[in-house]
Symmetry: D2
Subunit: 378 residues, 4 copies
């Protein structure tokens, strides 16, 4: 083959040569704790149910930084990343309903569609192939148990369940948040069962928390109180729906929220950081009968204070949610974007090419220069 | 007045003389930590929305023992008890829809019907009269914030919301569990959203846990695993619906349950004791996406182990429930009894008269002689 | 008493003299079919659970026109109207939690709070005092079974359940739609369980339909297709959230909607007129598994076409809703207004004083001059 | 080929010879209106996602009789039947998680797992391959759009979503009702959201209605009123959970039910016949706020009487359900059987071999000899 994979990747609709064993691509791989590096790897082979996607844009997630730091272990050599926007390069032999050359996204979570978890309504806990069909976080495969999206090409498993065509007229950056943070953030409001007229607190306004704020507004919350201290994030929170912002550097945020609500507390509190303080704060501001919707990834045991929990007698709910995936979820989120109900483009504060992804990691991991999300383009 | 109140109380339908200020009754009151004693108190006055009930049968709850021991503080002199079966003696001037002489029960929780909490669907957290209409555990008034049911007479507030006529043909003991443990225990299954075909674990088979077991069966669970070590309670658990019983003295109950389910875990785990071990065990046996339904009254902070919680990414739910009350709830529970779907009479292991209630407390507080529940008759 | 009731009604906080039997007020009463007239009536007496409200603003509903035309029968001499904004003039002896002089609204539906229907979560079907506690439409009392709001004074039954204080800063007209059309219209979206990303059709854009459109948007629908032919209503529909408007004079609206959605149909179809054509159209545009949320008041039997119903095998739902009431509902709706999530003031197209209410009926009943809603001020 | 397909079908685990084009089997095919006949057909080929099942037991459904009579059109030559119990003969190349020789069932409805309908929670309306992913009744493939189960072999599409291993110890007849009537009947109670303490009416006690009765009991209904006139079915209804049986030949069943309930009506009414009379009766007996859960297959337009529908203001719900399918549903239903919560074996009143299936159709279509369900054995 005379066509180098690098060039192939830039020609829409050009199939990767099948028999050429040497077809290579660039990919950001976990080398060791502290090092995610750009390497050459073979373009993935695909099975009958898979699709091969040529990535056009992707991004870096806070979870990837946990991986970088060794806080979440993955295999050495694994390609990182779970937020793909791209073009179908090749479809598995048993895949129907799609065509090569289509612009698509896939969720960070790629359910099989046929596990017991999927058929039970909790597809993120997909355990296809396991004895019972459930596996904690089993739906999270990209950049976790299989190669991920920070590469030129990506193998999407169970393609018929996971490929979601991008509506005409939407740019890559407009849909870049759908695979993970928009799906996760919105689910904080959805699983919290936010209702018209609710007061909602959202603890932390990083990318996920900002999307939770937007989701709460989209579902009819009428008073949204965001907790955040960084001015740029406070500003973004207001832009996406926060009615008030509480700065935790100016006093206990739970107390501030209780004061703002005249002691009533909130109907739904969304935790979007993954820390004891925010979890506990979210519980403390709940009215009796309220719901704590937890989105954060915790790194240690949590403590439930007796009083905030009303000794177990407060009719409280605590719900946790891993990012919902699957093509129908992605379709709905892209509808939100297309209908201009929410515009998350301002979250993309910095742009890099895949060639410069190591610099992107450096910026993002250190939260320099007011970064919220980066776009990585091929 | 020639008619002594003691005698009046034994004549069905005989109204307590209204203007006689000296009408007295016997009542079990909290004297000080360690002492609940039978005393003479005035028969309660009633307001326009109240009813006066002549108690025919009541019982003692584990919560009353907490009060006795000073673990849950109440005012000195308060009449204890929240599980009334009796006869309407007098109705407030604004009460309609009932008649004196009717046999009734009232729930342990007596919602007002008009608080924001009631109108929001969480009436146990009734905060009528408070600024926002919510108050943690606010619906629990009997033997907590107002005089309770271990007496000859009981004032029932918001009578139109709370009085539930006993269907003909049901004995006092048949409906004695409805006000509290049946309502609480069943709610463990209901709030856990047990579905047909579910596997359910119930941690602890005291009176509440036994009712949770019965409730899970009533909702269609097909495999119910009860955790209990006392043989009589194990036997009762099987009788009420447990398919298997795990003895925690024979090894970690969570591990036993995981082994019984081949590692899958359970769809719903009900905690019915109020201890860190049982809370944690319930979390550990949950399948991803499962629900921990907590009924216990905790006495300290709780710890959520990171692993069992899947770091917050397991799509788990934790729900807590205070006993649902109100006349419609009571009607439904008495329907269950009348239809012979569940028979809780075997839970009454000992019987006393009100005169002997101090002995009843002694037996029950020390859990002597295999006691499950006592009946206190007037 | 020297103070004429007409004057008393204009002095905020002036209590109506209690013992003066001759205190009179003006009220719009149903005289006979075709005639609703302004008459003098006694200011209502109140019972212990009631409140007396001095009406400051009210409005006329399409249902009142049905009454006027004799299509919905009420007693002669009954005061009409069920949408009150006013000031507490007097509180019943057993009412607590409110104070005279407070600005309040009450819902069109005034649940008792203590009926089985209330305690079951369907308080609009309140049957307090009936044998079982359910009565079809039993919660609708104002201007139906008791005197209504088109008067100088209104007796509000079960005041503790129904009085909702108006937040400071909101004008009468800002909250005038809360008692009925906002509550009803929103409930079309709520009972339809609109979700983020849904496509929703709303059949007819009268006041209720317009509020259904606003409600669907508030809950996260991303494509709202309104059916309407009157240009001013089409314009209002777009202003309140419709993405597209279908004109039924330009062809079968169901076919137009199916074409717009590429044959897919909608997730939720809201019927807001009460006619066979709109009911049937709503059914025909539903995707399999979709929900028809019906708000209209029908005047004859309905026909379900076999095909649109998939012979009963389409996993369809049809839900009907009578306007939700009660103070907590009102509070939430006023929160929506206060938070500026929805502004329904433009619906008030005409203003009258109570003295001129007969002219207001004439305009509204004949739908002259592009009238949407009228404000009737005292 | 020396091995006749008839013999192959009797040897467990014997693979059908792959390359032998002449491998034949017997199958009951729709020949023309009025004639379903046993014919020789090729053993089905399977694709990568399919499984080939050797049928050991199947049955005839009322729907098959509709097909026989030409009331529901299918292609000539199509193999009929959608209730398979059998043994995995061969697995498609992309199928994992199962092994040849396993005893399995598959639901009457075989969702793909990857359609929008599946990912939306209404997999029976599967529209895999269609533009939007929804198709009315699209999940019903066996004996409708592809060859069915009344044959020696059956191709199961999307095998990973649909094959459900039969627990050890359960006979074919014990699980024979799971694929259709148990799943459908139970769903009548499930979609009706039967709660503990509900009163439920079930109109008609054919196989589906009987399963609806069993389902309502399993979910905690405390008063189940069955409508049926045939003594054997009345008896079976009582056995499966009916507390009372109303005979429609002795008077209007709706009036009888209203009388039995003292005028209150029922919380949930399940329609299990598919006729105007039963649909209308179910609506008439509903309390305000109640749910009509419709299971019948209708053959004409339906009429909703204005009064029973409270003019659209009764907070009623009407829900329809097509039999839920998929392996997880089947697993749960088999759990119900294994746990002995419900025993549907008595529904099998007659047994035939596949060779005699024409006689079975004759008996079943004419409802002779008290037939409820037949078992067809290979």
């Amino acid at each position: 083959m005379s066509l180098a994979p690098e060039r192939a990747s830039r020609l829409p609709g050009t199939a990767v040569p099948r028999r050429c064993q040497v077809a290579k691509m660039k990919a950001a791989v976990f080398a060791e704790v502290g090092r995610i590096v750009l390497e050459d790897k073979p373009v993935p082979d695909i099975g009958p149910l898979d699709a091969l996607i040529r990535i056009t844009t992707t991004t870096i997630c806070g979870t990837d930084v946990h991986i970088l730091k060794g806080e979440y272990p993955v295999a050495r050599g694994l390609t990182i990343g779970h937020e793909p926007v791209g073009i179908i390069e090749k479809l598995g032999s048993a895949v129907s309903g799609f065509r090569e050359g289509q612009r698509v996204i896939a969720g960070a979570i790629t359910p099989s569609g046929h596990s017991a978890a999927c058929l039970c309504g909790c597809s993120s806990q997909d355990g296809a192939g396991t004895r019972h069909g459930f596996k904690p976080m089993g739906g999270w495969r990209f950049g976790n148990t299989i190669d991920g999206a920070q590469a030129e090409y990506l193998r999407v498993p169970d393609a018929m369940t996971n490929l979601a065509p991008v509506p005409d007229g939407l740019s890559d950056e407009q849909v870049l948040m759908c695979p993970d943070i928009m799906s996760t953030g919105f689910s904080g409001a959805e699983r919290g069962e936010v209702r018209i007229g609710d007061t909602v607190a959202v603890f932390a306004q990083g990318p996920i928390g900002l999307c939770a704020t937007a989701g709460a507004k989209l579902m009819g919350a009428t008073r949204i109180i965001a907790v955040e201290s960084i001015p740029a994030r406070q500003e973004m929170a207001r832009r996406l729906g926060a009615d008030e912002v509480v700065d935790f550097t100016e006093g206990d945020p739970a107390e501030q929220i209780l004061e703002l609500t005249g002691g009533r507390g909130v109907d739904v509190a969304i935790e979007a950081l993954g820390r004891q303080e925010t979890f506990e704060g979210a519980l403390r501001v709940l009215r009796p009968g309220g719901t704590l919707s937890s989105l954060g990834v915790y790194s240690g045991d949590l403590r439930i204070p007796l009083g905030a929990f009303a000794a177990g007698l407060g009719d409280h709910k605590i719900v946790t949610t891993l990012c919902p995936g699957g093509k129908e979820r992605m379709r709905r989120l892209m509808e939100v974007v297309a209908a201009e109900r929410v515009d998350l483009r301002p979250l993309v504060t910095h742009r890099f090419t895949l060639d410069d992804i190591e610099a992107a990691y450096d910026l993002f991991a250190h939260q320099r220069d007011g970064v919220l999300k980066v776009a990585i383009r091929n």
